[in-house]
Amino acid sequence: MAAVEKVIGGHPGMYATFPRKGGAAPTATHYCPGCGHGILHKLIGEAMADLGIQDRCVVISPVGCAVFAYYYLDCGHMQAAHGRAPAIATGISRAENDSIVISYQGDGDLGSIGLNETIQAANRGEKLAVFFVNNSVYGMTGGQMAPTTLIGEVTATTPTGRDPQEQGYPIHICELLDTLKAPVFIERASLSDIEHIRKARRAVKKALEIQRDKKGYAFVELLSPCPTILRMDAKAIANFVNEQMEKEFPLKRFRDRSGEAGSINRAESDFSQEALDKAFGCESGVCVQFQDDPEFVAKGVKIAGFGGQGVLSMGLALAQASFGSGRYVSYYPDYGPEQRGGTSNCSVVISGQPIGSPVVDHPDVLVAFNRPSLEKFAPTVKKGGLILYDSQAGSFQAPDGVRAISVPATGIAEERGIPQAANTAMFGALMQAGNLGLPREAYGNAFKVTFAKKPKLIPKNLDILEAGAHAARVLEMSSKK
């Protein structure tokens, strides 16, 4: 096979020979004669070489005829899944601030299966040059209708021509992207003949200059001849692009904001341990040693009520009190559909040994802030267990073998001017009557962590905690009499 027929090897920005392609013609491309891809490859290679940016460039090849762009262009390469190149480009560009990312895509890839990625990357203003080859048809897969197929155009899947009633109208990508704020540069050019290629060369170079200067998103659509699939000779395909395609897709520089756009730079990642310890607030970290204590009887606590009653924050405070006492602890918020219905519950397990299930089905202690929770969970409490419920839930007969204490938690909190602190009063009752095996001071200390961001609230809450404990003590004593 004569390599001379379609030689482009050795052109600026391109490899001298194409060993990745293999085969008998080491400087010939795999593209058909008259195809626009080879021309665009040359323009991109030339612009990369002129601007001296090849080291920084990563070309993302699409699924389609240009999937092998990496045979030819002398720079870094990644090959993409169909339509996903702009997302891959985003990943590279975000990870490597100095990289220049080039997404090379055809019409099916960019305008059909990957349209979302196309629009969203443009809308984020990614540092990315997109070269969009629009030849009005799927090439590599065998000539099916593309999103840019013209009305009446015959393809493998529109054998009687594209009918807008059935297949809709050609999509105009430049015009679509021109509705977005972020893109810096949008132009539609053509690769049909020498005169058009000269203009296209300027657009390609401009898009890469914008990348060199890190200014953001640049998009160049190139109307491109596909003589093989459209079954035309050289002259006919040039006419098709110039007359029919251009009529549907007018050549135009839609936008050039490269003058006013500043460069986008992302700071270098900080991998130091100091920065991480600071970010997570563990420079002066608590060091808690958990020691197995088989003598400590594990306790399961269930806390339930309406959303907004502080059910989950009370659970976390109890977990914190256990944690601060060096006990093994788990806290699990039930996030089932009930959450939306207004009730919520959580489980806290406190143990002297590593904890099995974090979900408490049969609590030693149930804390119920409302009637529905009381009725739902009271039957699950273990024999010998305890129920603490807000007095507002009304009178309640505890199941056999279970002790129940009606705590005026809401009343205590309201009297002290913080009605939303009923859970703190209940926490005090739990400290008093819960028999959970935690030291008394652990409860108050837990507030130092849970209120770390609002330290002013700590004294008032300690007051309510004690009031809750006092109420429970009085009630316990009166029930013993």
């Binding site: 870094g76 990943g91 590279i92 990289s99 299930s357």
Partner: protein, 347 residues
């Protein structure tokens, strides 16, 4: 070392950042969204990169791009999102890129609900997308392991240039336990031998999974299979609890293994010699260790919130021994009593 009470989803972010993870790309989905939230909060604090992607597909392809550039990259999702990501994962496996993907499994099939299940076992462990490939799959069972296995996941991902899935569930994501912070922070270095980082030294590199030549493509497949064999040989990880004299062995991972552990204690109290075998890595599956237990005459029960997806692997490992199953679906956790009664039935 510092410890804090935090939830499993945040522990993933802690593990990732101390492992030198540089980028997070995600899309909201319950019950994995907290990982996204925490990433958006903590990644920028240390100038790491965070993008909320337009879709699960875009998110996994951003992972492909940044991983291809040689960086440590994290993604997180849940069942329906994992299904969407499978295209990207097979490309990542085919192109041999390292990354860590956290799956906070929810109830399915279809939209299902946001409760916990373990029904993503097959799509995580058996490839999930098209072509012959495997993810390395790690299954944490505590908040501490959510952190530690995420970190280990990065080491394995880069050791083998392979995607690693952290397979967890909604309970592990939301539960709060003490976390001991990592003792050191890993500082990653880009490997110029394969990465495409937009730099002079990586200019000649190529990330791809296409190969038109059938024989070349076959050679690539053999190379992948050899890699999976190395992983099977080197990376088996499991933990035993009261197995020494056990006659009934519960096999269980993740949150179910915690319930199974409680059931083992309850069975022992009732005089039954039960034990727990907890795979920490699901791929590679601990075939030899299970076979040894089978040869000792143990009886097996798989405790998992699925239709016995892992049970099939236990059957294969134990030479097609009968394996009992205790399962729940739809977001319901397995109750300890149902495990206990199955133990009594089998014993």
């Amino acid at each position: 070392m510092a410890s804090q009470l935090i939830d499993g989803n945040k522990a993933v972010i802690v593990g990732a950042l101390y492992a030198g993870c540089d980028c997070f790309f995600g899309y909201p989905i319950t019950p994995a969204s907290e990982i996204l939230h925490e990433a958006s909060r903590y990644f920028p604090k240390v100038n790491r990169k965070f993008v909320q992607a337009e879709s699960e597909e875009a998110a996994i392809n951003m992972v492909y791009g940044a991983a291809g550039a040689g960086h440590r990259v994290l993604a997180a999702s849940s069942g329906p999102g994992m299904s969407l990501k499978q295209e990207g994962i097979t490309y990542i496996a085919g192109a041999e890129l390292p990354c860590v993907i956290v799956d906070i499994c929810r109830a399915g099939p279809g939209l299902g609900n946001i409760g916990p299940e373990q029904s993503d076992y097959n799509q995580a462990c058996k490839g999930g997308g098209h072509g012959c490939y495997h993810n390395i799959v790690l299954a944490p069972a505590s908040v501490q392991e959510m952190c530690d296995l995420t970190r280990k996941g990065f080491d394995l991902a880069f050791k083998y240039r392979n995607p690693v899935v952290i397979l967890a569930d909604g309970v592990l994501g939301h539960m709060v336990e003490p976390l001991e912070y990592p003792k050191d922070a890993f500082v990653p270095v880009i490997d110029p031998t394969w990465a495409v980082a937009g730099s002079a030294e990586t200019r000649g590199n190529l990330i791809t999974s296409i190969e038109l030549n059938f024989d070349e493509m076959e050679r690539h497949n053999y190379k992948l299979q050899e890699k999976y064999e190395r992983i099977r040989k080197n990376e088996v990880a499991w933990e035993g609890y009261r197995l020494e004299d056990a006659s009934v062995v519960l096999v269980s991972y993740g949150i179910s293994s915690r319930i199974a552990r409680s059931a083992v204690d309850a069975a022992r109290k009732a005089g039954i010699k039960a034990g727990l075998f907890r795979p920490i890595a699901l791929f590679p599956f601990p075939v030899n260790a299970l076979r040894a237990l089978a040869e000792r005459g143990c009886k097996f029960i798989s405790v998992e919130m699925s239709d016995g997806q892992m049970r099939e692997d236990i059957r294969l490992a134990t030479g097609c021994k009968p394996v009992g199953l205790v399962s729940r679906y739809g977001g319901n956790l397995i109750g300890m009593e149902s495990v206990l009664s199955k133990i009594k039935e089998v014993a």
